[in-house]
């Protein structure tokens, strides 16, 4: 029997949190000193999973974090959500959201570290205006948001019917997104029906380059809060090369706020 739209949307949203938002812990540990001090010397792994079979793992070690889609063989902590809705609630801090620690329930210190790192990530994703005045924090906030957006585009292009059909008609190639002269950069590569993602500039010359003049423009564009066509005309966004690939990805970015609050 076909799933009803609500169930599909729920699954998508849960998938987005697991595969687009959770990897942001990698960036957090890499760039945020306070996060590294919270983790300190602790080493552990934690799996987030739902009864419906969605799962992702974070490995914490040596002051860093590594994201692993799906499950790794042995995890120290397994946080099980009976429903996708509960997992969504956990990320959105709303409704009933208590996961069952089916493994590692006694690792109180590690569970506390996860909670503290989550708060740190939350702060970095939603800083106050005053915090954003700090250039370093602003750039970090941007890199987190763009990273989540690019990973979300991958997730949608695989699992959301509308995005899948958009990418089916898109030309193959590598799209490079950059901010400012020497700011954040990341790329998406669409080839043979799959998309992959990387940070920095791609190894080979990209097929299309989307250059945001500054972080504000980039954040507004990925949050669907800007007239992108006008921004291109004004020179705030520069698109060169295989424009249809950027168009297709742009349509998908526009769909992210349907599921994830910017």
């Amino acid at each position: 029997m076909a799933e009803n739209p609500t169930a599909i949307e729920r699954k998508l949203k849960a998938g987005l949190f697991l595969n687009s938002v959770l990897p942001a812990f990698e960036d957090l540990l890499q760039h945020n000193e306070r996060a590294r001090s919270i983790l300190a010397e602790r080493q552990f792994s934690v799996r987030f999973q739902t009864s419906s079979g969605l799962k992702s793992t974070l490995l914490f070690a040596n002051g860093q974090c590594a994201f692993k889609p799906g499950k790794t063989l042995k995890n120290d902590i397994v946080l099980h959500f009976l429903t996708e809705e509960q997992l969504i609630n956990e990320f959105e801090h709303s409704g009933f959201r208590v996961p069952i620690p089916i493994k590692g329930a006694s690792r109180f210190k590690d569970l506390k570290v996860i909670k503290a790192l989550s708060s740190e990530l939350e702060n970095s994703l939603r800083p106050s205006e005053a915090q954003l005045a700090d250039t370093k924090l602003h750039d970090f906030h941007l890199s987190l948001q763009l990273g989540i957006a690019l990973r979300a585009a991958i997730e949608l292009s695989v699992h959301e019917p509308r995005s899948r059909s958009i990418m089916k008609d898109a030309p193959e190639g590598t799209a490079y997104f950059s901010v400012g002269e020497e700011g954040y950069g990341a790329w998406l590569e669409w080839r043979k029906g799959t998309i992959c993602y990387g940070k920095g500039a791609p190894q080979n010359k990209p097929d299309v380059h989307v250059a945001f003049s500054n972080a504000q423009t980039a954040l507004k564009a990925i949050g669907n809060r800007i007239d992108v066509m006008a921004a291109i005309g004004l020179g705030d966004i520069r698109v060169t090369g295989l424009i249809p690939l950027a168009d297709a990805l742009g349509y998908i970015f526009e769909r992210i706020p349907i599921y994830l609050e910017p």
Binding site: I166, M229, I232, L234, V239, I243, P244, D247
Partner: protein, 411 residues
């Protein structure tokens, strides 16, 4: 933004405050190379136009097709001024409407009647209604990447489109007889019509003329399965063949849609059809407040008269081929391999093996800088005003562009 475009940018800033996108549709800055092309035009004459900053260009886009005889054509101006003096928009059509229908029924191969609108989409969308009315079938097929207008069933992009808009639309691969057979095998019993362009001219790709076996298969399958063949001749009409572009390639369409070149820049579109479809056509309500306006219809009558007098398709073909061969030779002599596609009257030349179009964009931006308006991703258009002398001038400007961006092109 180039310092050449100060007024263009100032206007665009104003526009972007009050118009979604600033400039929308095919003229949007994002469709070419934003900042390297002008945004707003001011006046035009013959083969040239001037932007709001006073920069002059030889125009190889012809307003994206409508300018067939040249901008600001004196004979068209004279007739439209004369008709305008009598009034344009009335409660009724004028005699010009009847004259134009008679002219198209006589001139277009296979046509026995005609109706009129303003834009190509008016006609392509109406023609599928006629096909459905006539056949009693629902589905419509079109070639992948083909452009047929801005109604929900066919508009490029995704904004405001729901799945149901495309639920009755199928697609096939241009020039693939196999794809056509698969389509007919799968949906033949339900297909009201197949819509084609005379040749395939997608953006961001080379144009493709139809292979003879594809034309034969198209004609035979449509006839065998009672599928109407609709020719979207909006972009090509009256540039390739006076009797309709299907005469250039051998298609046997039942309905033919025209616009662009028909009125040499005046807003008019037409659909012509075979006698057998006239009753069905009469049942498909068609109207618009301005669709009977006399001036554009009179402009169309005059345009067709001049095009016939000047044997225009032949002239465009010869001059277009002179342009293309000249460009290819220049590319070779400067070590920049170029490739061409499409018919002479609507050529498209681009940097060879430049799959990302980075080099093509650099070349066209350099050409625009030299006063030669070339689109990097869309086929070009010639008009009667592109005489041999103008083509020579185009080639001089093109060579200057090649020299100026050679380092970029050899990246």
């Amino acid at each position: 933004m180039s310092p050449k475009y100060v007024k263009s940018m100032a206007l665009f800033q104003r526009a972007s405050a009050v118009i979604p996108g600033g400039i929308y549709g095919h003229a949007a800055p994002a469709a070419t190379v934003a900042g390297a092309f002008p945004y707003f035009a001011e006046r035009a004459e013959g083969s040239r136009y001037w932007d709001v900053d006073g920069n002059e260009y030889i125009d190889l886009m012809c307003g994206y097709g409508p300018i067939l005889l040249g901008y600001n054509h004196p004979e068209i101006n004279a007739v439209t001024a004369e008709v305008q003096a009598q009034g344009d928009c009335f409660n009724h059509p004028t005699e010009y409407t009847v004259q134009l229908a008679e002219r198209l029924a006589q001139q277009i191969e296979g046509a026995d009647w005609a109706v009129f609108g303003k834009n190509g989409t008016d006609m392509t969308s109406w023609s599928i209604r006629v096909a459905r009315e006539f056949t009693g079938k629902k589905r419509i097929a079109k070639a992948k990447q083909a452009y047929h207008g801005v109604d929900p069933w066919c508009v490029p992009g995704y904004g405001g489109i729901i799945a149901e808009d495309r639920a009755q639309i199928d697609s096939f691969v241009w020039n693939s007889v196999e794809s056509l057979h698969e389509l007919v095998k799968r949906e033949g019993e339900n297909l009201a019509a197949i819509m084609i362009t005379p040749f395939h001219h997608p953006n961001f790709a080379d144009s493709q003329l139809p292979n003879p076996d594809f034309v034969t298969a198209m004609n035979e399958l449509c006839e065998k399965h009672g599928i109407l063949l609709i020719l979207d001749d909006v972009r090509c009409g009256f540039r390739l063949h006076s009797n309709g572009s299907h005469c250039s390639f051998g298609f046997n369409p039942d309905l033919m849609c025209y616009s662009k070149a028909l009125g040499n820049g005046y807003p008019i579109s037409a659909c012509a059809g075979k006698r057998a479809l006239k009753v069905a056509a009469s049942k498909c309500f068609l109207t618009g407040s301005f669709w009977n306006a006399a001036v554009p219809i009179a402009a169309a009558l005059k345009t067709l008269e001049i095009a016939e007098r000047e044997n225009l398709p032949k002239q465009l073909k010869v001059n277009g081929e002179q342009l293309v061969s000249g460009m290819l030779a220049l590319g070779e002599s400067h070590g920049v391999p170029l490739q061409s596609s499409g018919p002479g009257a609507m050529p498209y030349v681009r940097v060879a093996e430049d799959t990302s179009f980075h080099k093509q964009q650099a070349l066209c931006a350099a050409a625009v800088e030299q006063g030669l308006y070339l689109h990097p991703h869309h086929n070009w258009f010639l008009s009667a005003a592109h005489t041999t002398g103008i083509i020579e001038e185009c080639l001089q400007r093109f060579e200057a562009a090649l020299k100026n961006c050679k380092s970029t092109l050899n990246l």
